[in-house]
Amino acid sequence: MASLQIIWSIFVKDLRVEWRNRETLASMCVFGLLIVFLFNFSFETAREETLRLLPAVLWVAIAFAGVLGFNRSFASERENSCIEGMTLAPVDPSMIFVGKMLANLLFLGIAEVVMVFAATLWFNFSFLPSLGELTLIAFFGTLGYAALGTIFGAIAANTRMREVMLTILQFPIAFWILMLSIDATSNAMRGDPGGNWAGGAARVAGISVVFTVASFLLFEYVLEE
């Protein structure tokens, strides 16, 4: 289908542009690592309480690394008015949204893997027993978060204080994606004593899908002159 090809072209273009610089991905990973490191260093690792904090630490790190990435995603488009360049073509703006969102999703996903890896080492905690559940929760949580980050990134690009504006839009609205992801992750990490990780994952998925669809439908109004 032609639309899928266009989405793919935009997605690949974002990857290629990033690959030439590797600035965004690197800063996201480093930033995320720093947050995990900060928490790890300031608390005693092996203690039960610290492990209870781990899901929150990870998702906070993901949240901040994400916002960093979303800002840069549109910075590269702004340089030579490339977003306008894309609208010169008969392309549905929603395709631009999906392409960029998938790129943001991938970058944040890579940063998450790095952070989880570091957390495994530093917290001496194995995520393997519940890897499947955790991956599912992380995927849906990151999906919704990236969808919001993409549309808010486009909106904030029109303002004077871009990075701040993106953050102020992103955090209140993505709040429950983060909260429920933390909750579901925590449940899964403890081996799911209540037997309801599926409910938690479904909640995260539900909210993320709602926000993704809303962002997809509204994106064309953001690009309109």
Binding site: K13, R16, N80, G85, L88, E225
Partner: protein, 244 residues
């Protein structure tokens, strides 16, 4: 007489368009039509509204009131046909600095869903003598070469209609000459041309029709030869151009 082609309707029609930026009126009740095969030169002082008008024709800006029609259809509602048929060049190059010349062209070609893309890219690179530089990153090119790449991008989808907003700015002498030659040839290739430039002589040497804008209004719209130069405040030399 301008070529009419199989479609007798004008290619582009601007109907009573007004554009406000806040309280500033950039365009005031502008109406004009451009038919296929014409070569039109848009002239006016800074702030006259030329860029706003050209951007509007390229679907990058919407009128505050009035409408822009392409082949009789409003481009806001039905913009795909217009976008496929129009190539736009402006001060912004619309290219990714981190990608090579060829990668940029390939990307935009895909957005236009062009077939035989690689061949088209070859053709357009040859046209602007950029083949040897096709693997250079756009950010590493000089301003003149970037402009050439941008022109290549604009012509890639073989648009019927070329719109150029001050395309000569920042180009060296040789590039200016090449661009002038290219623009002169376009009507002969069946293409319609609308461009703006500061240099009246330059524009006069290329186009056959003149539209002047002042403070957002159209002052003159007609054949270049019969333009009332004094009235429009245009100083003409003897018609001799400085560049060869």
């Amino acid at each position: 007489m301008p070529l009419q082609g199989h479609n007798a309707k004008p290619v582009l029609e601007v109907r009573n368009v007004t554009k406000f930026f806040g309280d500033l009126a950039a365009l005031k009740e502008v109406s004009l039509t451009i038919a296929r095969g014409e070569s039109v030169f848009l002239y006016g002082p800074n702030g006259a509204g030329k860029t706003t008008l050209l951007r509007m024709l390229a679907s990058l800006a919407r009128p505050s009131s009035g409408e822009v029609l392409f082949d009789g259809r409003n481009i806001e509602r039905d913009g795909a046909a217009a976008k496929s048929a129009i190539g736009f060049v402006s001060h912004a190059i619309f290219l990714y600095g981190e990608l090579t010349v060829r990668e940029n062209l390939r990307f935009f070609g895909r957005l236009f869903r062009l077939d035989r893309l690689e061949k088209r890219i070859d053709a357009v690179l040859d046209m602007f003598d950029m083949r040897s530089r096709e693997d250079v990153f756009v950010r590493d090119l000089s301003r003149g070469l970037q402009q050439r790449t941008s022109l290549a991008r604009a012509l890639l989808h073989d648009p019927d209609f070329m719109i150029l907003d001050e395309p000569f700015t920042g180009l060296d002498t040789q590039s200016v000459g090449r661009l002038e030659d290219l623009l002169r040839r376009l009507p002969g290739q069946g293409k319609t041309l609308l461009f703006s430039t500061h240099d009246f002589e330059q524009g006069a040497a290329i186009a056959s029709r003149l539209i002047t804008l002042k403070a957002g209004r159209v002052r003159y719209n007609g054949p270049l030869a019969s333009a009332p130069f004094e009235e429009l405040g245009i100083q003409r030399s003897n018609g001799q151009k400085v560049n060869g």
